[in-house]
């Protein structure tokens, strides 16, 4: 019991110490949580050819920004994203994609289940986001094969993002 209390306190201190340090200018504060790469929801692809196909971290950043832009413009998805902190979302998504594509980043965001809790995301929304991501990857020149290798990593997150 006492051990658990100490562990919780330690985790809390760690978060207090860590999260604000990584957050960038213009982000709203979030409730404390335990940071871990495991929150990214999958193990990274260990193949330099995939990272190269995404044009490294610069390419990944462009793909995330374009995907978020397209989603905000989307009449169905826009209203779902609008109320939330898009500065933070862009940063954490870039970290997550970079981590999962073997780009050597650390993921500092929340896990997929907590991130999308009570949001009411349905499969149709999930698929719309996949389509926007495909558009962004295609515009970045990522081949269909490489797009699919990345989507294969994201696809199982459907069960955490679409909660019923």
């Amino acid at each position: 019991m006492r051990l658990a209390l100490w562990a919780a306190l330690a985790a809390w201190l760690l978060v207090l110490d860590d999260a604000p340090a990584r957050a960038q200018e213009g982000e709203e504060p979030v409730a404390p949580y335990v940071q871990s790469d495991a929150n990214a929801g999958a193990t990274p692809i260990d193949d330099p050819a995939v990272l190269a196909a995404f044009n490294g971290r610069d390419g990944i950043n462009r793909i995330v920004d374009r995907t978020v832009d397209l989603s905000l413009e989307d009449p169905q998805l826009g209203p779902i994203f609008q109320p939330f902190d898009m500065v933070r979302l862009r940063r954490t998504l870039k970290e997550q994609f970079c981590y999962l594509l073997g780009g050597g980043c650390t993921y500092t965001g929340r896990d997929m289940s907590a991130s999308h809790a009570d949001m009411g995301v349905q499969t149709r929304d999930f698929n719309l986001l996949v389509q926007h991501l495909r558009t962004a990857m295609r515009e970045e020149g990522v081949s269909n094969r490489m797009q699919n290798r990345f989507l294969a990593v994201l696809a199982p997150m459907h069960r955490d993002v679409v909660q019923r």
Partner: protein
């Protein structure tokens, strides 16, 4: 209730028997563009001009919550000039209606990419052919019958592949157009349907299918069928399928092959 929402081509195309599949085989995918939150529908027309015959099919299907599929199809097998050579009238046409019911029982073909477990569906097709007097004269036991099947489908996204295997219990002669059971064999047999397709893009797949079939009638041999095809999702509602199909010997005329052309709409 939510309409639409499936990813392109994940409603498959419609097989010649009206169930969702590839062209020649049935898959475990469910008709329509709906997700688990809604209802969808599809319709198709398919033409297969073979060497000595003209095969065509059309029909509709409804998908409920990406789980249950109800399908109706009509097939016509026009003997054309070959009709006279068979001792029938020129242009004599064999016909049948097919009612299909499919239930997705487990697994997920698309999202569960961290598991090898395929999407599995079980189904039944009731087939009723016309011209019972002629089918009897050709040696068929019945003009109607049931096919039952189990299908397993998996999108292997990592490899850009779509794989399917189906086991079908059937007594159907030439898909049921020549009735069910025959003078040579009247038992149910387990037949196999295999398909593999490569996702060139998320809107274009190319693949091949192979299907074994019973050989029940004494007067004519029935052989395996196979095809190669390309399916292109022009829009989220319109899919074009083109290919080449070989059905082997049909009613004593050997080497029946030709183009496979299909148009599918889905909502």
């Amino acid at each position: 209730m939510v309409f639409g929402g499936k990813l392109p081509l994940t409603r498959g195309v419609t097989s010649i028997e009206g169930s969702t599949g590839g062209g020649l085989s049935t898959w475990a995918l469910v008709a329509g563009n709906e997700t688990e939150d809604g209802v969808g529908a599809s319709a198709f027309v398919t033409r297969v001009p073979l060497s000595d015959y003209d095969f065509s099919a059309y029909g509709v299907a409804i998908g409920f919550f990406d789980r249950v599929e109800l399908s109706l199809a009509h097939q016509e097998f026009d003997t054309g000039a070959t009709g006279a050579a068979l001792g029938l009238a020129e242009g004599f046409t064999f016909e049948q209606d097919i009612v299909g019911l499919k239930l997705r029982v487990l697994g997920d073909a698309v999202y569960a990419q961290d598991s090898w477990l395929p999407q599995v569906a079980v189904g039944v097709q009731y087939k009723h052919a016309e011209h019972d007097w002629l089918l009897a004269a050709l040696g068929a036991e019945d003009d109607e019958g049931f096919d039952v099947y189990v299908s397993a489908t998996k999108v292997v996204l990592d490899q850009s592949l779509i794989l399917n295997a189906t086991v079908r219990g059937t007594r159907a002669n030439q898909f049921g157009l020549l009735g069910h059971g025959g003078d040579q064999d009247d038992e149910y047999h387990a037949e196999i349907e295999l398909s593999a397709a490569y996702m060139v893009t998320d809107r274009l797949i190319v693949g091949a299918e192979y299907r074994t079939r019973p050989d029940n009638l004494g007067f004519a041999e029935e052989e395996r069928g196979y095809d190669v095809f390309a399916a292109y999702a022009l829009t989220e509602n319109l899919t074009l399928v083109g290919g080449y199909v070989d059905l082997g010997s049909i009613a004593t005329f050997d080497d029946q092959d030709g183009a496979y052309l299909s148009l599918q709409i889905g909502f």
